[in-house]
Subunit: 431 residues, 2 copies
């Protein structure tokens, strides 16, 4: 039984109760949203030790951190350090996107070490295996792909990205409107190449029932990938992207009908004034399915700072209704992130999510800012540090910039507005 | 003659021509917007070596970096280093907010070293002098204040923040709607204290003509300060803030009538969904005067990352029509920024400004992103680095994360989507 089917049957599972507790919301509300498919609780029955999280409408905006090996950095150890850093920084989920070294060992170690939900992209492993076997990723067979999916599911992976909407029709639409940067999704690019070389349809679309069967058996949440997402603001919201979204909307309905939990992935690189439209069209086309966005990055010109370009887009997207933000690190477009990049990426995405939670009216969001502002007003520095989204950094910066200061800070010293204003005599208000 | 009066008289000054050249726009368009008061060119006749910048409607969004001594860090040298760092990072203007050490010496050194427009807040110096003289900032007299303004103007300061809208009426409105954090503007807090203790009106309001006379004589652009800006998202867009804005709108009309260039300062801490409204109301109430915002910070909980909270708000504000972004550094709310904070702050604000320029349709904005995306598609790394908003950081991150790699990066290695996609056979499009 998936969490979706349990909720539909009116059963309040421990996972539903735990999510309600964390969200400070009535358990019935969580169960209703889950039954309607507007919330998912990615919780594979095989993931021992999972502390479940909900993703969806009315819930706190969640943040995912990507980690995983690459062919150039195949070692397990650094990825486990990144996992630790990501969770300590407040990531609500992690994805293991390993493509190098012993992929099975990394995934299992991450699952064993993670209380947060874990996601993967099984096609990476299927392609890597085909490549190891024959030197060519397009030698991957549909069975290779489903074997990888079954393996990840039985290992306990809570959600998997599957690029089911990269169909021949969507690719035709993509090609009918030329792009500057083409296809930037690894899974999308692999599948398109495979489909074109073999003159075949996407097996994840053609055998969607086979995918649903595996997902249902282990309660793996499907994260319908956007293989045709834009990789440049110049390419955003084009025919290829929207054609794929239309197909994902149809698949959301099929998955729900089968009792499988499903969310939808979104862009990518999107100019500021198209971000809200992207969320609105996804919510409409995909029947209110949770929306999991990668960024969006609102400009292409800032490699080294894409945690910031994506915090801008992520805050806007989440305030328009996106539910789940995939972090982007300062290393994006330049190389594999190091642990410090992971920390910066998680915090930037959490800032975006929280800024949106204020306007979404998420329970508890305003109390945090109110408490911080009260601590500021009364110059309670220890409390300000404790309330900071990253207390470690806040404390370090305070210590470095304030040699010997006590009640104020070195920005203004005795000219501290808080201090001056606290001594202000009051005006008579006239009434 | 101020630039405003010159433009009204139909004269195309060298400053107007230079701004048109930098903005890649017809010189007549710049002159028209200047004559209408929708653009300012802060260019004090006494600022030798200034390379003028325009601020206003249709122009590239500009970024200001604050620097200056404080009582705890009174030395000149670090501030000159910050000036250099800010300009190298792309700041379009700097403000010297010194309150410690030899304030005159710092201002003059900054003016001598800066080709970009320089702003100050003369009340800081007047208050510091009163404090040195009598131990109490409220011992400052109106003459002290105007003497400081005259001094800054004759030294060549291009724009000054003057909190003319902090009137007794505005303070009454402020007190009629309680705030969590009160008044957070140093100038605002100083003035209110002064007014309440002396039971007097704000001299910057009462003697606005005296201010205009000085500003006109040297062509100092007035930046009407928002002394009642919110310092917490909880306090945003309240009666005090809007009451002050109404007064600033009236003063904009008076200043323009007198031929004095004028812009208006804005918040501060503002939740995401109030940012656009803040810009729209300012533009309406202040007759389209250029809007210079401090942030806005969209949440209070991220000390150590307020360059990010303000990049989110700044991008939104600028896309809604704000013209000038005052940077916020990672040290905000914690201490005086160091040079590295200055660099991070400038880049974050420039990212926000550029993301907005894409949707504002600023000439040349899209070409930058398009060029970067083309360089990405063709894996031209040197060109990507050269096009990056911060080439130094982009190159460092690339070098650190890519030991020995050549044509791809260590994020994906051989699984690089750009590379896979470049080899893709094309689908027949059906037509």
């Amino acid at each position: 039984m998936t969490q979706l089917l349990e909720a539909r049957a009116g059963r309040l599972t421990p996972a539903i109760r735990r999510v309600a507790e964390k969200e400070k919301q009535p358990v019935e509300r969580i169960a209703e949203a889950l039954a309607a498919g507007e919330t998912v609780i990615p919780a594979n029955v095989n993931h021992a030790g999972l502390d479940p999280e909900g993703v969806g409408k009315g819930l706190r905006t969640k943040v995912n951190a990507n980690l995983g090996t690459s062919p150039s950095f195949p070692d397990l150890e650094p990825e486990l350090i990144k996992l630790e850093v990501a969770v300590a920084a407040g990531a609500d989920a992690v994805m293991d996107l390993s493509t190098g070294g012993d992929i099975d060992a990394v995934r299992r170690a991450v699952l064993a070490g993670a209380k947060v939900p874990v996601g993967t992209v099984p096609i990476y492993q299927a392609a890597a295996h085909a490549r190891d076997r024959s030197g060519d990723v397009t030698e991957m067979t549909p069975d290779d792909l489903f074997r990888a999916i079954e393996l990840h599911a039985s290992d306990g992976v809570d959600f998997i990205t599957v690029h089911c909407g990269v169909t021949r029709e969507a690719v035709q639409r993509l090609e009918s409107q030329p792009r500057v940067i083409g296809v930037v999704s690894r899974g999308g690019a692999l599948l398109i190449n495979w489909m074109m070389r073999r003159d075949a349809e996407n097996p994840l679309y053609e055998q969607f029932d086979r995918l649903l069967e595996i997902a249902k058996r282990h309660d793996v949440t499907l994260s319908l990938g956007d293989g045709l997402r834009p990789g440049s603001v110049v390419d955003a919201t084009d025919r290829g992207q929207i054609a794929e979204l239309l197909i994902l909307g149809e698949l959301v309905a099929v998955a729900r009908e089968a009792g499988v939990q499903v969310m939808v992935e979104g862009p990518g690189h999107v100019p500021l004034d198209q971000v809200a439209a992207n969320v609105q069209i996804q919510k409409r086309i995909c029947h209110g399915a949770p929306f999991y966005v990668l960024g969006p990055l609102v400009t292409d010109v800032a490699p080294g700072y894409d945690h910031i370009t994506s915090a801008i887009g992520g805050a806007l997207a989440a305030s328009a209704g996106a539910d789940f933000l995939c972090y982007v690190t300062p290393a994006e477009h330049l190389g594999l992130p190091c642990p410090e990049d992971v920390r910066e990426g998680v915090i930037a995405a959490r800032i975006a999510g929280h800024a949106a939670d204020l306007v979404k009216g998420v329970p508890g969001a305003w109390e945090w800012d109110r408490a911080m502002s009260k601590a500021r007003k009364s110059l309670q520095w220890e409390r300000q540090i404790a309330l900071a989204i990253d207390p470690v950094k806040a404390e370090r910066v305070r210590a470095e910039r304030n040699p010997g200061e006590i009640d104020v800070c070195t920005m203004c010293g005795q000219y501290c507005a808080m201090k001056i204003d606290s001594g202000r005599p009051h005006a008579s208000t006239g009434r």
